[in-house]
Symmetry: C2
Subunit: 251 residues, 2 copies
Amino acid sequence: MTTGTRRRMGVEERRQQLIGVALELFSNRSPDEVSIDEIAAAAGISRPLVYHYFPGKTSLYEAALRRAAEDLAQRFDEPSEGPLGARLQRVMGRFFDFVDEHGPGFSALMRGGPAQSVSGDPASSSAATALIDSVRQAAYEQIVSHLDLVAVPPRLELVVRSWVSLAESTALLWLDGRRTERAALELQLVHDFGALVAVAGAYDEEIAGVVRRILAQEPPDGPFTDLAERLLALLPAEAGTEVPAQAAPVE
Amino acid sequence: MTTGTRRRMGVEERRQQLIGVALELFSNRSPDEVSIDEIAAAAGISRPLVYHYFPGKTSLYEAALRRAAEDLAQRFDEPSEGPLGARLQRVMGRFFDFVDEHGPGFSALMRGGPAQSVSGDPASSSAATALIDSVRQAAYEQIVSHLDLVAVPPRLELVVRSWVSLAESTALLWLDGRRTERAALELQLVHDFGALVAVAGAYDEEIAGVVRRILAQEPPDGPFTDLAERLLALLPAEAGTEVPAQAAPVE
């Protein structure tokens, strides 16, 4: 941060600085609790100068939200290299980094609570809804791209989109008290992805093919291999009364 | 409906009738698109008489939301009898009945879109958020009660709460185009419940005990037994390179 230097900034540079300062404040408190005076003080400039760059708090809040949305969407970017389990672990690590950095703001925004909009301004509420949707869409497209499918079966699309929302809600529940270790939740969400796709694959031959391909590319110490082994250990003794012929024999 | 009879109703009876009429209208369009005139016409009374019972559209919308929330919470009520899979199937059937009946209103409300509040009235927005939370809490308590636990491990609490949100988001995605058969989604959510609890059980001995107990009580044709068998058929061939000693042998 260069807020202390008071050097002369260009217009765009100053705008970006104000957005960054505002985002940090809005990340920790609801928009109604953050004043333009406070933003000006944190940026080291006068209140009138803030208004020179932004017509009001609503537009500054929206710009901060937009930056946060772009940032969050980028956390889902992951090169298509290596086993899927490890890719998803890296994505979940970056996702929880974001959630951690913007905790109260993320929570208030996603819960549609008072911080979703600047009071009395419904336009800012629908702008926020549109931004949330754009992040969900970006996350969905990123994740689904790792499955290397020409066409995504509707049921798999639904599974991946529901998993994105599961990641959101798990993060929100985590923020509410942080009673579970963050690393355990990141791994659990990776496992949940595998489990939800496997459930769909249990009833759809095309998705079953996706599951087999994912598992074939996992290393022995990868999260999906480990989960599959543990589930096998957990399930057979009870469920094996009528195992289909192609399955492993059960004693 | 007795709207055509124009007989004289008592105050409470008339209020309840207006709430019912309003709920039906708000279920299909956003509050801003529904006028008091329309509610009056649908109820077969005059506009001034509507205002005699409700000070304005916001209070009528809130009363309709409250009734919908109570109705939705009740759909999660299920006697603690019989195997868990069948109980959850009945709950999901009633949940999707509700979603089906109130489609556009449910969608707009849960997405925090324009229908979440009457425009320009932030108080109605936070009342809606509180109602949504109360339904989620009721659904969580109902579902978790079927697990017969004296104390719920934090990780299992998180799994059940995330599953409730998964049911919400799956329903919302279904409403958006209805490209997947409803019955398949109801069953998928029951399976998802089993899979998410099993994933947690794979890494937590106490939850593993819950999973074993659930499976032991399932009939051979129950949804969890069927899923377990299909997952076994899907997984072993790929994952069985390092199966722990206590698991079933793999050829």
